[in-house]
Amino acid sequence: MSRGKLAIVGIGEVATGWYPDRTEWDMIYDTCIEAIRDSGLGKNDVEGVISVNPMAQPKLQGEIGFGKVPEELGLKGCKDICIVNAGGSTTTNALRLAEHWIQSGIAKTVLIHHCTKHSSIPIDEAIRFFATAGIDLQWEYPFGMTYNALIALSMTRYMHDTKTTPEEMASIVVALNKWAQLDPLSMNRKPVTIEKVLASRMVTTPLHAFECNRLGDGASAMVVTSPELAKKLTDTPVYKLGEAVRYTQATITQRTDREGIRKAVSDAAKEVLKEAGITLKDISILELYVAYPLGIVNLLEGLGICMPGEAGKFIMEGNTSPGGKLPVSTMGDAVGRGHTGSGVGTATYVECARQLMGRAGERQVPNCKYILTNSAGGSGMNMIWSVFGRELK
């Protein structure tokens, strides 16, 4: 399917934060140029540009979607552009499209980038967007449904079934925060404790404010190419070694099969490991973009790393934190890093590359060889696993 047909060779990123004084284009310039310089390519060597759709910003979407990036940056060798949207799984699809462009000869080198600037969205527009994105206008919205409530509904049932405690759930935020504390690109670096999580405002039971996302501004970029060209460009290419996916459902009322998501996670994971020719034991890091703590629980249990109902304990014991036996989400996911819309997905791949390139600073996981990444769109409409590694086996 996708084994060893694409390599990440350059990355660029601005720290997630709140930048009312910076424009979107200011961040796009900085991240894209950083990634291209990092790749060793010249500006006119980039043959394709694929942008992650900034869903909450229609104006920027129009500018990017109609081809402004190569023109602004002066990428004279660019042959084509495209804007991609699949919610949280957008960047995964950008990588798929890039792989197709590279393999078919449409473009030998592709810039993938993202920019979201929540601070520039008028507050009423932002509220309306987040109130209705992914919420069914007929069967959910009239009841006062929100995205937080959607996660809370799954969490209530999960905690009821498994007797997972609020402390165990809160420890997930603490584990992510420990990574964020080590990450100069993260926005929420202030130390958090279980007590602080549980003392934060109850948003919608059992979900506390610290378990929800804090919106931020952010941008990141990466340059990808064929493995052949990658070897000539850099000593630390990051190869995509496999990918597998399952679609689940878009709407929570359709998730009546208890095992549905767990099975989707498990089936796709088996496939991706087989394609990459490795086992779970070979994985150095799980880079998961799930946005809410419950997602990590679902994935750890779906992978079979924890028995159903035991992921909370596993995380509370520190296994996924810095120094733990299975590092999870080394930039702290959206909770730690700050939520930049679909951009958390881009940042997750950039972090994956950073770790495999050995450039993750204080967060560097020693002897990092293989990373298993997960992305999903909407409230888990799909479950996509990818494996990245330092070597083409």
Partner: protein, 135 residues
């Protein structure tokens, strides 16, 4: 009743009958006359067999609470007057799951799997919404 300022359901042609039903205090469930499946939410074609031979059955209006959340904060202005309110997922006896609100109960008494029954509330002259309360 016309001062209702919260969002109304955005209907599809094949869900008209459902909302006519709630006006008459009936919870209707779409039913495939070919494969026999009960369908929620209403579709143009049966999602199981693609039949267009679809009809409606009346739900007994009873079920169990699959899950719930008491929303206290972080909603659009138009819902603020309702806070705190309880969003519910209800498994109806007819084998489908619906989203709704749980009303007429003390929050501390709510638990997963408690029996619930449907109640109706007029939103506008056109729309009547369905909620649930402990049975």
């Amino acid at each position: 009743m016309n001062d209702y300022n919260k969002p109304l359901p955005v209907k599809q042609p094949w869900s008209e009958e459902f909302w006519k039903g709630t006006k008459r205090r009936k919870l209707l469930i779409q039913h495939c006359n070919d494969c026999g499946k009960n369908i929620f939410y209403p579709r143009k074609y049966c999602p199981e067999c693609w039949s267009s031979n679809l009809g409606w059955i009346e739900s007994k209006g009873t079920g169990t609470l699959f899950s719930y959340t008491v929303t206290m904060y972080g909603v659009e202005e138009k819902f603020m007057a309702d806070l705190p309110y309880v969003i519910a997922l209800v498994d109806l006896g007819e084998g489908i799951r619906v989203m709704s609100r749980l009303v007429n109960c003390r929050h501390e008494d709510i638990k997963c799997d408690i029996p619930v029954k449907v109640v109706f509330e007029d939103m506008t002259d056109e729309f009547t919404i369905f909620y649930f309360e402990p049975a």
